[in-house]
């Protein structure tokens, strides 16, 4: 069983509320859900839509096509009716939208009028629409009612909305011939989580207690998440005057002993780059979350892209090690965020979590997170030697890290080249040793990165290569191609820098196809740089929208021919 729902309308009409309630509704019935948002850079108006894909089998992505289109404005009908599946239906407000040509594919419901009748407020359009959906799908009205009660803290408002839901439900029931039914499926303990919350939750569990950021879509989601939990878990979230300040505040807090992070997007990270280099030089751990969106410059602020890989691995003047991870889904994002904090502390380096708007804003059902698996190791010397030297040259390159304020020692560091104590030096012998010491940490770091995840047949003719959030759509496309008999495989990189190369070397004689959400194939370029493997076949998308499995299937077949 699979049903695809699109809710479209203007910003401010409550599309997201419907999507949130209905996604939880399907989760609790026992279904797998993938919910993706497409929105414009504005507060009101425009055209926004959310797609909910519901299935009795795991889903990793949105896909083409729609079975139920909920149109809160006429534009939604104009833009999406051509995507309607054979047995699909369009729900629209027949009191407000009069100028369209109605066929039996349309279900007219006076959404706004019903909302006002039941609650004296247009806002309750969401509740009416949820009711219509549940009626149309012949599903569990009582579950929807309990979700509505959870949603509204004021019981009186909640009750009014339940009346709105019930009225909507009756409208939905009038289409009892609708072929898609969503009955209760199974009890489950799965979670519904978006990438932004997953990074935020991972950070909290990792012990991040200071976040400084300047608001920038889509990175802001992580700042909002930590702020929402700040009082209960003793987290200080400070909105900085600019990104330069954000990263410098974080380095100060980290130097003084608190796990700290910034969150931003490509443009904000560009402003932080000098601070990144400072983290490298002073060997101060920090975690940088970058939610990618299309550039250059301001680009498409609310859309998605994988355009910052090469920027991020090369950012910063001077040479110093860093860890870069690009989680494949919210579950991975949770664990990789914890790993980013642990590696930052272990190697005293910047760790970068590279997500994008698609990952941050999409909600997906995942198997429960195991918090017992999370190990936190700070690598801080509580009783350091009396002759403590912050930048002691060691075989591993890692100097013992103590905190300022520790009795009897001084902790000194400098953005200038420095001696072991941390004082400015122009001794060129020491300079050489310090460069080598810092880079030795990078050699060890190579052993920490996770090899790409392989799925597919044992001896593939073609291997798709991807990284980060495109995992879901590529995975689904590969599964479908395998079902059709294609001898295909898929290598997905989550840790991207230092680039793990063992599997690439193992498959080096195969034909690779890079599938990336950018215009130049940045992972392919990195692979060539690190291994010499030249990937000439590429499937690239850079219009601001995420890949769908169907389009990857089409493109792979085109390349195969």
């Amino acid at each position: 069983m699979e049903v695809r729902i699109i809710i479209g309308g203007e910003a401010g009409q409550g599309i997201q509320t419907i999507a949130n309630i209905m996604s939880k509704f399907f989760l609790r019935l026992g279904y797998y859900v993938f919910t993706e948002q497409s929105y414009q850079s504005r507060i009101r108006g425009g055209h926004n839509f959310t797609q909910i894909r519901v299935s009795s089998k795991p889903v990793y992505s949105i896909d083409d096509g729609v079975d139920i289109l909920i149109a809160l404005n006429e534009e939604t009908i104009n833009l999406h009716s051509n995507e309607l599946s054979e047995r699909g239906v369009i729900i629209y407000d027949n009191e407000l939208i009069k100028s369209i040509e109605v066929t039996d594919r349309f279900l007219g419901v006076p959404l706004q009028k019903t909302a006002v009748e039941k609650t004296q407020s247009k806002v309750a359009i969401n509740s009416v629409a949820c009711g219509v959906l549940v009626g149309l799908l012949d599903s569990d009205l009582a579950l929807l009612e309990s979700l509505i009660r959870e949603q509204f803290k004021d019981p009186e408002v909640g009750e009014k909305n339940i009346q709105a839901v019930k009225a909507g439900y009756e409208f939905g029931k009038t289409r009892n011939d609708f072929p898609f039914k969503v009955p209760f499926l199974e009890n489950n303990t799965r979670l519904l989580i978006d990438g932004g919350s997953a990074v935020g939750f991972g950070a909290i569990v990792a012990g991040c207690r200071f976040l400084s950021a300047y608001p920038m879509t889509p990175g802001t989601a992580v700042m909002n998440y930590l702020a929402g939990h700040s009082k209960k878990y003793n987290i200080v979230v400070e909105q900085a005057e600019d990104e330069i300040s954000a990263i410098n505040m974080v380095l100060g807090a980290s130097f003084a002993g608190v796990r700290s992070m910034v969150t931003t997007s490509g443009g904000g990270f560009a402003l932080m780059v000098e601070g990144l280099s400072l983290a490298g030089m002073t060997e101060t751990p920090c975690v940088i979350h970058i939610g990618q969106r299309p550039g250059p410059a301001t680009g498409l602020p609310t859309r998605t892209e994988q355009g910052e890989l090469l920027f991020v691995i090369n950012a910063g003047h001077g040479e110093f090690p860093r860890y870069v991870t690009a989680p494949r889904d919210p579950r991975d994002a949770f664990y990789k965020t914890v790993k980013a904090f642990n590696l930052a502390d272990k190697y005293q380096i910047p760790s970068i979590i590279l997500t994008d708007q698609f990952l941050i804003d999409s909600m997906v059902t995942i198997e429960g997170l195991n918090l017992n698996e999370v190990k936190i190791e700070r690598y801080i010397e509580v009783n350091p030697d009396k002759n403590y030297k912050r930048h002691l040259i060691t075989e591993s390159g890692i100097s013992p890290r103590a905190l300022p304020g520790t009795d009897g020692i001084l902790v000194i560091t400098d953005s200038d080249e420095h001696d072991e104590e941390g004082h400015i030096t122009e001794d060129l012998e020491i300079r050489k040793k310090m460069v080598e010491k810092r880079l030795r940490k990078g050699t060890l770091l190579r052993e920490e990165v996770e090899e790409p995840l392989y799925s597919g047949v044992q001896d593939p003719d073609i291997i798709l290569v991807g990284w980060g959030s495109t995992y879901g759509p590529i995975k689904e496309s590969v599964d479908r191609l395998m079902e059709e008999g294609f001898e295909i495989g898929f290598l997905h990189f989550s840790d991207v820098y230092p680039l793990p190369c063992r599997q690439l070397e193992m498959y080096r004689d195969k034909r690779f196809v890079a599938v990336e959400g950018n215009a130049t194939g940045q992972l392919a370029q990195l692979i060539r740089r690190e291994t010499g493997i030249d990937i000439s076949d590429k499937i690239l998308k850079y219009n601001g929208r995420p890949f769908t499995p169907s389009e990857i299937v089409r493109e792979v077949k085109r390349i195969w021919m």
Partner: protein, 283 residues
């Protein structure tokens, strides 16, 4: 505490006769008189000749980027409020490159101290105008003289409701020590602007130039009067007031955040925390 506890073996890279030497001596003196042990002091500095100062006495030190020291200092103080955190740099660093951080951290009012060596010129880059250079000063870059009026740190700070604004002069060590102590003892963001000659590049604002002009605010001056404080901050030319110009007791950042009222943030355990409430949000 004996001043010698702050001595280290670093050799200053300053020009002979530089006002920085006096400021360094005063710094050690003030800290010794306040009994602040070096291991409980965190100095943060940026880039420039002034920003090297904390290398020349015993303290914890984060010598960061040009203009960004106040941000680092604020982050460190949030992490460990038990440290005395002082940001020390020059006029170009603090009022030029770091201007935005200067402005917004006055608003934030984290309990850190900002000591600015203000010699009205860029020294380390060899003699360009600084944000506080007087109009008309000729340099290798400002060949016909400075045409933009100077940045007035005191007036800007008072306009932003700074909690403590003071000015002193490197040529009056006794006064400077007392201003440093007052700034350190103040609960909140404290700005101390320290007038200082640059013997190599600033041929206008010399030791004699300052010596003839500075005068101390006396007991009749009320630093809590904002209008009077503006007047004193704007006074520049034949007579230049030094002393505590403005005090505005207001809640610090730390006092306003419940997360920071108890144990220092860095000591609050991050393991063994129960997160089951958060997991429920995802159902």
């Amino acid at each position: 505490m004996d001043v010698s506890i702050y001595n280290n073996n670093q050799v200053p890279a300053w020009c002979p006769g530089c006002g920085n030497f006096s400021i360094l001596r005063c710094m050690k003196q003030a800290l010794a008189e306040l009994d602040i042990p070096p291991d409980k002091l965190l100095m943060v500095s940026g880039i420039g000749q002034a920003a090297k100062a904390p290398h020349y006495f015993r303290c914890n030190l984060f010598n960061g980027l040009h203009g960004r020291d106040i941000s680092v200092a604020v982050g460190a103080k949030i992490a460990n409020k038990e440290l005395l955190v002082i940001a020390e740099s020059g006029d170009g660093n603090t009022y030029g490159e770091g201007g935005n951080h200067f402005i917004h951290n006055i608003r934030r009012n984290v309990n850190i101290k900002v000591f600015v060596h203000n010699n009205q010129i860029y020294g380390l880059t060899k003699g360009q105008a600084s944000p506080t250079s007087d109009l008309g000063m000729k340099t290798k870059v400002q060949v016909d003289g400075v045409i933009s009026p100077p940045f007035n740190p005191g007036a800007v700070a008072i306009a932003l409701n700074a909690s403590f604004v003071a000015r002193s002069f490197s040529g009056d060590p006794e006064h400077l020590v007392s201003m440093m102590k007052s700034a350190i003892n103040h609960n909140g963001f404290a700005l101390l602007d320290i007038l200082q000659p640059c013997v190599t590049f600033n041929r206008i604002n010399t030791f004699q130039w300052y010596k003839q002009r500075v005068y101390k605010l006396d007991d009749t001056y009320d630093p809590t009067n904002r209008v009077m404080a503006f007047e004193k901050a704007l006074e520049w030319g034949d007579r230049i007031p030094i002393g505590i110009i403005y005090i505005n007791e207001r809640p610090t950042y730390e006092e306003q955040l419940p997360q920071l009222r108890g144990e220092p943030l860095y000591r609050i355990p991050i393991t063994g925390v129960d997160y089951s409430d958060i997991l429920k949000e995802f159902r």
